[in-house]
């Protein structure tokens, strides 16, 4: 059996990076009209759980590409334009949980699901904090607006989505993988 490597970048990463980006873009399009209360032009995105799942299942490069390209595609097609800091933040949100790929092998195991949710939470914190702080330079906001108006609502919204949907995706993936035999 092929040995998994965290930083490999081959056909698997290219294909799943693209599929993750397309899924993130498509699901984001579906919910890009649902704003988060108290946040400045930030939308509610259940798709974040899919992004974190791709990071956990296929590694950091896939998470980074899926988040960066997916956010760019979703925003452009929805008419938001291109906000490079949010695309970078979304990329980090997928990349950080990808660092846990080698620690997770049984997608049905409760302990491993908790581990994935934990890494996902860290990814959300790093990604949203990066995007919110960079908004001080691109959007001219002050630090309190960056933290209270952007980071907190976006972090909490994405956290809730991840805690609920990521375990469901992981259990479903375990079943699909078992049926496929890889």
């Amino acid at each position: 059996m092929e040995k998994k490597s965290l930083w490999a970048f081959g056909t698997r990463q290219v294909v799943y990076g693209a599929i993750g980006a397309a899924l993130y873009g498509a699901f984001s399009l579906l919910t890009n009209l649902i704003p988060l209360p108290a946040a400045g032009n930030i939308t509610f995105r259940p798709a974040v759980a899919v992004l974190i799942f791709f990071g956990v299942a296929y590694g950091p490069w896939v998470g980074l590409l899926a988040g960066f390209i997916g956010n760019t595609l979703g925003d452009m097609l929805a008419g938001w334009g291109f906000y490079w800091n949010w695309s970078l933040g979304n990329g980090l949100m997928g990349m950080v949980p990808g660092l846990a790929m080698l620690m997770i092998s049984n997608y049905k195991d409760t302990k491993e699901i908790v581990k994935a949710v934990g890494w996902g939470t860290l990814g959300i914190a790093v990604g949203i904090m990066t995007a919110s702080l960079l908004e001080m330079f691109t959007g001219g906001i002050d630090i309190s607006t960056a933290l209270v108006g952007y980071f907190v609502p976006a972090f909490l919204g994405n956290l809730v989505v991840t805690v609920i949907l990521l375990p469901i995706l992981m259990v479903a993936f375990a079943a699909v993988s078992a049926r496929r035999g890889r």
């Binding site: 970048f9 081959g10 056909t11 990463q13 290219v14 294909v15 799943y16 990076g17 693209a18 599929i19 980006a21 397309a22 899924l23 873009g25 498509a26 699901f27 399009l29 579906l30 890009n32 009209l33 704003p35 108290a38 400045g40 032009n41 259940p46 798709a47 759980a49 899919v50 799942f53 590409l65 390209i69 595609l73 452009m76 097609l77 929805a78 008419g79 938001w80 334009g81 291109f82 906000y83 490079w84 330079f137 691109t138 959007g139 001219g140 906001i141 002050d142 607006t145 108006g149 809730v160 989505v161 609920i164 949907l165 469901i168 995706l169 479903a172 993936f173 699909v176 496929r180 890889r182």
Partner: protein
């Protein structure tokens, strides 16, 4: 089966341009607005006219794009615009520090109680909403025509010729190709689940219950795409993807029009940077006569 966007070859100036020059122009405008943080309507409105002119020159048929415009209209006018008017958020801090006299107030109280807030609507916030919506439209209408006017066969080579690695270019190419396919899969899944009694428009309960009920949409599409991914990987591996330097079927060459268009884009970017960092121009601006009229 792969589905594609409604791309159609048209004999337009935009489609005769090299796709690289279009993407670089788009980057120049977006980065020119966002990096120096331009919020001055006197700068944004002329830029809007330029980008709107370019959009019109793409001559995309209304029947093809009306759903996209409906979506953008709802997003920009009802969500971004209302957010700007009611909260003043989404822009520079100066809007949040607005002390001008309110034009009118909107009381938001729980019925028969004193709990709630009163939102003051000022001329500053109204003008900020106009600026915000114009700013977003300026950037968005450059990106909207891309799926309709750029041949899906040249996405990959476009990024490759812009200096991106073969593998990342191919990832971008595949992502553009998969997006309409997955959007169609999502639409089919929604219809299938509705046929089984799933009520998407009537998700009752709290946030957690609603999210759990999104699972019948998200899980099948995501899992199906992981299976499709394995098939695509096998097909690519059989064709020895990534084992040697890649060649691309189509070649791209800049023409005179591309150089002129690129020069225009770069001059926009440089002008905005010089205005901001050389002359300090670009902050949020509101006409004096509007402030006087509003009593500010």
């Amino acid at each position: 089966m792969l589905v594609s966007w409604k791309y159609r070859p048209r004999n337009t100036i935009i489609q005769r341009l090299d796709p690289r020059s279009r993407l670089i122009f788009l980057a120049c405008v977006i980065l020119g607005i966002t990096i120096p943080n331009i919020w001055d309507f006197r700068i944004i409105f002329p830029l809007f006219l330029v980008t709107f002119g370019l959009y019109l020159s793409a001559r995309i048929e209304w029947k093809d794009i009306r759903r996209t415009w409906l979506f953008i209209f709802i997003l920009i006018f009802f969500i971004v615009g209302l957010n700007a008017v009611l909260s003043g958020r989404g822009g520079p801090t100066s809007v949040l520090q607005d002390n001008s006299a309110p034009l009118f107030s909107i009381p938001l109280y729980i019925p028969w109680t004193n709990f709630g807030i009163k939102i003051d609507i000022t001329m500053v916030r109204l003008f900020f909403a106009l600026t915000q919506m114009t700013r977003m439209l300026t950037m968005a209408i450059l990106a909207i025509p891309i799926p309709y006017t750029m041949d899906p066969n040249i996405y990959g080579v476009t990024f490759r010729k812009m200096g991106v690695s073969d593998k990342v270019s191919f990832t971008m190419d595949l992502a553009f190709r998969f997006l309409p396919t997955l959007a169609r899969d999502l639409s089919i899944t929604i219809d299938s689940q509705r046929a089984r009694g799933y009520e998407m428009d009537n998700l009752k309960g709290g946030v957690i219950a609603r999210l759990r009920r999104l699972a019948p949409l998200i899980v099948p599409v995501t899992m199906q795409s992981t299976v499709t991914g394995e098939e695509v990987i096998d097909a690519m591996d059989l064709r020895a993807f990534g084992t040697a330097k890649r060649t691309w079927l189509k070649d791209l060459k800049y023409g005179l029009g591309d150089y002129l268009f690129l020069g225009f884009g770069i001059s926009i970017f440089l002008s905005l940077m010089i205005l901001r960092y050389g002359f300090g121009i670009g902050n949020f601006w509101i006409p004096e006569f509007l402030l006087r009229w509003a009593g500010g």
